[in-house]
Symmetry: D3
Subunit: 253 residues, 6 copies
Amino acid sequence: MAARLEALRDLWELDQPTIGGWCAIPSAISAELLGVAGFDWVVIDAQHGLVGFEDLAVMLPALSNAGVPALVRVPWNEPSAIMKALDAGAQGVIVPMVNSPEDARLATEACRFPPRGNRSWGPVRPSLYDQEYAPATANRNVICAVMVETVDAVASVDDILAVPGIDAVFVGPSDLAISAGFLPSADPTEPVHLELIETVLKACKARGIVAGIACGNAGLVRRWRDEGFRMLAVPSDMSLLSDAAAQLLRDIG
Amino acid sequence: MAARLEALRDLWELDQPTIGGWCAIPSAISAELLGVAGFDWVVIDAQHGLVGFEDLAVMLPALSNAGVPALVRVPWNEPSAIMKALDAGAQGVIVPMVNSPEDARLATEACRFPPRGNRSWGPVRPSLYDQEYAPATANRNVICAVMVETVDAVASVDDILAVPGIDAVFVGPSDLAISAGFLPSADPTEPVHLELIETVLKACKARGIVAGIACGNAGLVRRWRDEGFRMLAVPSDMSLLSDAAAQLLRDIG
Amino acid sequence: MAARLEALRDLWELDQPTIGGWCAIPSAISAELLGVAGFDWVVIDAQHGLVGFEDLAVMLPALSNAGVPALVRVPWNEPSAIMKALDAGAQGVIVPMVNSPEDARLATEACRFPPRGNRSWGPVRPSLYDQEYAPATANRNVICAVMVETVDAVASVDDILAVPGIDAVFVGPSDLAISAGFLPSADPTEPVHLELIETVLKACKARGIVAGIACGNAGLVRRWRDEGFRMLAVPSDMSLLSDAAAQLLRDIG
Amino acid sequence: MAARLEALRDLWELDQPTIGGWCAIPSAISAELLGVAGFDWVVIDAQHGLVGFEDLAVMLPALSNAGVPALVRVPWNEPSAIMKALDAGAQGVIVPMVNSPEDARLATEACRFPPRGNRSWGPVRPSLYDQEYAPATANRNVICAVMVETVDAVASVDDILAVPGIDAVFVGPSDLAISAGFLPSADPTEPVHLELIETVLKACKARGIVAGIACGNAGLVRRWRDEGFRMLAVPSDMSLLSDAAAQLLRDIG
Amino acid sequence: MAARLEALRDLWELDQPTIGGWCAIPSAISAELLGVAGFDWVVIDAQHGLVGFEDLAVMLPALSNAGVPALVRVPWNEPSAIMKALDAGAQGVIVPMVNSPEDARLATEACRFPPRGNRSWGPVRPSLYDQEYAPATANRNVICAVMVETVDAVASVDDILAVPGIDAVFVGPSDLAISAGFLPSADPTEPVHLELIETVLKACKARGIVAGIACGNAGLVRRWRDEGFRMLAVPSDMSLLSDAAAQLLRDIG
Amino acid sequence: MAARLEALRDLWELDQPTIGGWCAIPSAISAELLGVAGFDWVVIDAQHGLVGFEDLAVMLPALSNAGVPALVRVPWNEPSAIMKALDAGAQGVIVPMVNSPEDARLATEACRFPPRGNRSWGPVRPSLYDQEYAPATANRNVICAVMVETVDAVASVDDILAVPGIDAVFVGPSDLAISAGFLPSADPTEPVHLELIETVLKACKARGIVAGIACGNAGLVRRWRDEGFRMLAVPSDMSLLSDAAAQLLRDIG
Ligand SMILES: [Mg+2]
Ligand SMILES: [Mg+2]
Ligand SMILES: [Mg+2]
Ligand SMILES: [Mg+2]
Ligand SMILES: [Mg+2]
Ligand SMILES: [Mg+2]
């Protein structure tokens, strides 16, 4: 695991794009399947996916076994959700609805032990594999990605990015669209919507922070990659499965 | 499902009373059983019932299959609990301990997408059945019932009801009794207790908001129905089962 | 626990009737609820109840905690199902569809260590509470009830009862009715059906073996108790709950 | 549900082909997703899928809610597995490795109540929706599909088909290939392999029994449909998801 | 259960030390095993242990059956986590990261019904065993232990202890060490670290509140017991198991 | 994983002893903990451990991640249990109560695809990691260990070993003791008991088949290793944990 996780940080440090898979199905075997599919990282979505703690506690070892860094999107910006995901072995978290520097501070501090934050000691699963696991190592390794996905958040994006400890900003285009008065859309076309996304990207670039985004299809992955996003999430397992079944039925005729 | 859910709103709009079943047992089959028993709606009680997220994620499809609208009483007034219940397919939530307009705003906003609230987009289960599922539809359909169950809440009931987006107020007579200095009671007899309940009912009537209440037995359902409550919950599956076993043993002698 | 279990054998040895609760819902809390309801024993129905091994492994401690002897009706007359139930702490098993002496031997031998049977050693849960737990004790304590529930089984009932190690015979009236060409019925009225039941009862009395039967209601418990049945099972939690909900809705009107 | 199930039998009686989805992931939400995808029926694969009884007990209500007939492929030709699947609400079973008339009799008898078989009475979930649920109805409705998937089975196919109560024969091309000395293949090309499949198809046609087959891709569905197969299973959710992820990564480049 | 729980309070009132076991493994059987091992109380660690609500809901009956008082360390100082643990039958909670009187008030009030707090009525499991279960009894019985485990918390320890309703203060030496700038350590040796611990102990003694601490080994239990700690927790099941396996492999050579 | 598994076969081919851990607790995290403890292989005990299929399906990825070959002791000599364990990714099985060549044939054939056996094709988890996974590879890799643990089995041990496809014979000393008329014992001292064990060992040596045995403590591991056993299982996680807790309490005093 360590190798792959270091690889991810290395890729980001070399400003290389990375592609992530997305688990919404609460199952170890579907997670493991995505884990071996070739993604650079995989998210377990405990926000909108139907995933509770017992689920992610068995999905994480499956993803580790697949040799891919596993992030958990926590249900909300809550210390307990963030810390439990990390104790269960997530290499990092994606924290939704970070709309202000205060929100960002809450998220980053939950990811880091003192003096950088207030994470509580008890790294039950990570320490199985690293007897020398220590606060400093953990603070270096754990990835904290915050979601900027409202108009308010974009307005404060520079202040948010100024909060120490943010490794990446992950844009949620659907929530951002709704917050801007549009329909949620996998394929942003509204100029205002696009401008909001670009604002986030520019702010990230200016600070050397990885910019990420949820992409509704392969074309969007390519497009945002070309623009400079380095953390590109593909549609969820449920979307892929649903589309594949529909396509198959069309192919059968 | 749509039909039955619309039927519930229709009944309420016609000022018709509705009866709800109550699931405290964390099991899909006991939920499905209550779902087909003839209730107008069924609650999965994730507050005092022994129900966690993994449980409700499998109880909700069972209740859908039974063709009955399913509400989730969330453990506490927390956005993550409310949003996860809705993403998993609950037609609405009952939010406990709403004691102030601020509490009410927190609850209603978690139930609705912008601009009416801050619900985050990702309606995983509802969108399986409605490819056109959109924020506006969701905002119209989702039922937000807030619990008024303390002396403080009753004192602020008018201000609470003034918060936009409350579909129903659900009275918790036991908590209200304790908060007023009495023993929790399924059958309110203390004048002060009764007066508190009446105060809520009147406030709801004045605003055209559905009033609901937990009823300890059939007689209380009839009584509160006659008084004007339109959302009448019967005792939980655990109470029914416990009473049925006791009665059976008495009948055997 | 020991006390209550001994009490059950004592009651049977004094030819006293005993009443049993029936768990079809796969849940520790509904099991525990029935466990404290006042029954002399409780069955976890892993045959027709929606109960798998993971379920019964958590229902058994709940029933132990309630202080009531717990039997498991296994899905079928299979050694693995019988032995796993006993290792998980069931005080005994009810084995369905025992239609011949060979079937009976298969069942009783799976319940007992050599030389009385072929149960394999590994009493994981029972030995938590009895460090002196030994094959001889186990062989004495474990209850093996076999179901006689087909016309063929009744025809062979004397040979079945002659198999050593049968503690009780449990009649399944519904399967017996179907096997005799009638509809499954909670309340046997067909003379042929009744005669089959009486045949089993007489054979049990002749050998001093406890006779048991599933009873569709309190009246049938009283009737079969008067006839001499000593192991009287009431309807399942699902039946009780379903009837209670229906009655409640009728009472509400 | 009844409508859709009748529709399936109707389609078969009109000699119309039907397409089935395949669940190997142990999850209610992925099952429900396939349930709404447009298939005529869906299989929960408890043989090679990672599905245990607790899993299928929550996947079945999800599939019912999706309005699609649900079959369970049981792990092996065992009465307990067949009967528990039916009690949990499966509309039918697919029984693997039916290699002889004796095997077929074991399978069909486990699906039917006396006098047609030896299924034991306790239809816990089906009777929730049909208070008149009776042995005769159940015997008519339950679908028993047996797998012919070895050289020996093909050699005995006429004797197997002569066993009363077989609704469909389902060919497992991979096992059949291995048993004939070939590699397991989603796309049979070996003449001997093809001939074995054709032999089964002809035997089914001669007896008016539905022939089914697992198809590795859309082209094979079309091909076998043209040949006269009427029960055409598509690749499992795991296959679809794996292929979709691989294709997506190729599309991204 | 009642007997043992009273015994715990009695021991504390007699100023007797008590030893507690620690469950981090999410399993009813390992909890039950620790429950019978001879500890005075056992904690289910839902903070750093891999334990979610569904897990603790089945671990609690197992611990009750073992006859030992069960505490739950909740994931965070949140009312929903505290109240759900108590409704599921925990005899008390250990609340992490109580750093101020405000934190302490939040914790203690969530443990007690009005007028002492804001716990909501619905004691589903406790009331199974005590039909007279009432707010006053519950308020007396429930144990609220708060964790003092940061430098800030120690600085405010007198104010924290002044909050009514604290039964015990539980020191987390690892978090305290990190907060003081040291490595987390099972065996505090840094004078500053030791002084912080002593400060808490003295404050507890001054107020007659039980002092507790997590102890990394038997020697530390003896040491802290001699110093006056009365709530001494041993290493978790995971630590014990890990050490035992390592020792065994060393013994084998 | 492949590396470690090959290492196990290599060790056996070099006649080197190997030590195995034993999981009776149904939990992915306790399995993973044993997986990293340094054993050469780990068994998930689905016979006497409280482990069902859903449990082992999540324990296997955890053990894979720990990098240790995982065997499953199946509940009984049944094809469905054996095949499901292998499809879920077990590197092999330990089959209890193999008392005759017929039993041995049933076990070995369930482990191997035709023409060597009758395993059915569907290696869901193994094929995630090996797209070239094929019957011949699987037949070579899968480990089939049969338990010789009765007097009858020892009497037939030569005939049992003559059955092709047995990789190892695993002695169950407790069952063997009971079958020989003794108490189950972790430390065989009865000459008759010891002689039975030696008979198995000699027969294995004569055929070049690995001999294995369950060892009650480190001393017995050394003793049996010196005698020539090459598959040495230590006490279960439950035993280790129970002993560790007892020792700790003694050390505390
Ligand atoms: Mg979002
Ligand atoms: Mg309340
Ligand atoms: Mg029966
Ligand atoms: Mg096959
Ligand atoms: Mg701490
Ligand atoms: Mg054995």
